[in-house]
Symmetry: C2
Amino acid sequence: MTREEARCKLEEYRVRIDDLDRRIVELLNERTRVVEDIGRVKRSAELPIYEPRREEQVFENISQASADGPLTNEAVRRIYERIIDEMRMIQRVRMEGRGEN
Amino acid sequence: MTREEARCKLEEYRVRIDDLDRRIVELLNERTRVVEDIGRVKRSAELPIYEPRREEQVFENISQASADGPLTNEAVRRIYERIIDEMRMIQRVRMEGRGEN
């Protein structure tokens, strides 16, 4: 493959990556909105916010969904630890904001 | 809202989260496959693997895609730093494996 051919191929792949990223970000924001809804329901019913057993269910679900790879189980889990952590932080900021009003 | 009503609502939200997570994981794996293709093209054309300018384009794209939130720009960026890091590690392992053969 010449460098010119390679650059054309790379351009094509990058368009695909950018498209995939926009879809991933859209789903991440949708997930955040559902997490916010969950927080509202829990607060109004005075249920505990943190449920470790539910967290394990989330990890089990993503492991199964990623069984064929190429991402390893550990990689998906580390990515999701970050995702869950960010969503938890957003929830915390919202709750503190509410407490002040 | 009674606790029983809250539990029903939560169950409904969790089904949605699990569905969203399966779709996110599917897209993450698809992204990894494209990243692997990019690595193959770069190696065959002897182009540099790491391109900081391209990385900035990725961050710009996801910032625009997430402009309406509720995830903050910083949150999406931190999630993507993990995603990019995991995909880079997978590439590195593959390349080392190839070097041994």
